[in-house]
Amino acid sequence: MAAVAPTAGAAAAGPAVAGVVAATTPVRLAGAAGGRESWPALPRRRRRPARAPRLLAIGAPIPAGIRWALRLLSLATPLAIWYALSASHAVDATFLPSPSAVWSAGVDMLRSGVLLHDTAASVRRILLGFGLGVAISVPLGFAMGTFRAAQAVFEPLVGLLRYLPASAFIPLLIIWLGLGEPPKVTLLVIGVVFFNTLMTADAVRLVPRELLDVSYTLGATRTEVIRKVVLPHSLPGIIDAMRVNVAAAWNFVVVAELIAATSGLGYRITRAQRFLQTDRIFAVLVVIGLIGLTLDVLLRLLREWVGRWAA
């Protein structure tokens, strides 16, 4: 340390002196002199020549053929296990119906029109409940993401409410709204609105400060910045939030229909349970899964199209 003391001393002596020192002394790198000679050499780890474990290399792309094979496997394996379990009669068919039984139960319900009727009823509730939830949460979240004041007003409340499980509102909703459609739709709204608000606000807050600044210097007013910058920038994120929360809406529509309903996929499940028709329950579950998957894929495509500018 003795070697560096003079410079430090000079630097501490005041700006005027420091200026003189700077002009005459070359810049020296910091570090202790000497002592390193006594250190033992760092051990080197022996590496086996990389026989690339392609599939397990972190973050590395895999061949398209293998990717599709793995995807297929992820669906085929549980199906195969299911088939094996029911074919070997290891599990009673009452508890685990065979895939073919589920298929024919599904076809049966489709032929009788029950399945379409119930699907339509559930989809209608989703459209209404999720739609209402989005209609409330997107403007609210947009405001929270744009204005700190709106964030300060709504964030504590929304942050608290989202921790209340929507299903816990069912008894209250029945007392308040009766047994018809309103409590079911309201349950969906409650299940969707808080999360979607906060996720929308997060997406809106991601607009870079510099982009806003540059817009103002190009002459944009506050309203124009919101319309022409904040909205297009956050749109993909808003759609992403909707994609996550429409899945929640599907969960809640089934929950809502388990109680006091006369139609819908959830109702069909409860009804099938009463008659121990597990094949029908399975068939309805498959339908719910397929609809969910379709929605997810559609919203993902929409998001990719809207956000095609993203790097």
Binding site: A12, G19, A22, L29, G31, E210, T217, G219, T221, E224
Partner: protein, 274 residues
């Protein structure tokens, strides 16, 4: 001074002071900065980190208000940001969902001018900045240098009184940076705009500026202004001439002295007792 220097300065700063924070904990970033830019002038502002040079640009752009002092553009005190002071940041800040042409058109779309007139202007600036081929590309398809060209074209389309460049080539590789230095001189010559460019690269400042202003640190003050008496037609080879090297060395010493002073304000442990 070129023959473009018309009557009176286009931009004038009077005793501009900027504090961050308030009360006892306020930190003075800029202190009594006086500066005047003549119309058509190319001025480079150099200073070590912490000299508040970016803050100064943001004040001129109107994105922040000075704690004290006045900034006057064409005799009018500025009131907030506007297209009469075009700003370009270090990394483009392009609208990623807009094509190159649409980025350049952004400011013009806000004005009541016919579409044909808007397109004509956009085409002109795209051609001037060598972007005509890329008009339909998205920012993600561009290189760093191309993005900066778009940002400059976008700022110029608003016909600013002053073009404010905040370390515009700081994130580019050396070869691209050299291209851009030639480019910005050409644009300046062709458009006759006034340029105030912030940089920490002294060589760049001397190569481009007709005048170099050195900011001091803690707080930022104007330490020195010096004219750069080099020919108007500047090429990259100019950097090897003795005249250039002499000016560059003088400015470098000034900046380094300010940087030392800045470090002196820190405890030795932080600076590594440099």
């Amino acid at each position: 001074m070129t023959d473009r220097a018309a009557a009176g300065p286009v931009l004038r700063l009077h005793g501009v002071v900027m504090d961050f924070g308030a009360g006892g904990r306020a930190v003075r970033v800029l202190d009594s900065v006086d500066l005047a830019l003549d119309r058509g002038e190319f001025v480079c502002l150099v200073g070590a980190s912490g000299s508040g040079k970016s803050t100064l640009l943001s004040l001129i752009a109107g994105l922040q208000r000075p704690t004290a002092g006045q900034i006057v553009l064409n005799g009018q005190p500025i009131a907030g940001p506007g297209p009469d002071r075009g700003l370009v940041f270090q990394t483009g800040s392009l609208f990623p969902w807009r094509t190159v042409a649409a980025n350049v058109a952004f400011g013009l779309e806000l004005l009541p001018i016919p579409r044909a007139e808007r397109n004509r202007r956009v085409q002109w600036y795209l051609a001037e900045t060598g972007l005509a081929e890329l008009a339909g590309s998205l920012p993600k398809q561009l290189s760093g240098g191309q993005r900066q060209r778009v940002a400059i074209a976008r700022a110029l389309a608003g016909e600013p009184e002053v073009l404010l460049l905040d370390e515009p080539f700081g994130a580019l590789d050396v070869q691209t940076k050299e291209d851009m230095q030639v480019f910005i001189r050409d644009v300046w010559r062709d458009t006759g705009t006034t340029v105030l460019m912030v940089t920490h690269d002294v060589e760049e400042a001397v190569l481009l500026g007709q005048r170099v202003v050195v900011l001091s640190c803690d707080p930022g003050r104007i330490a020195t202004e010096m004219p750069v008496p080099l020919p108007a037609d500047r090429t990259l080879d100019l950097r090897r001439t003795p005249e250039f090297l002499a000016i560059r060395q003088t400015v470098e010493d000034l900046v380094r002295a300010q940087h030392r002073k800045h470090l002196a304000g820190w405890p030795a442990a932080v600076t590594g007792a440099g």
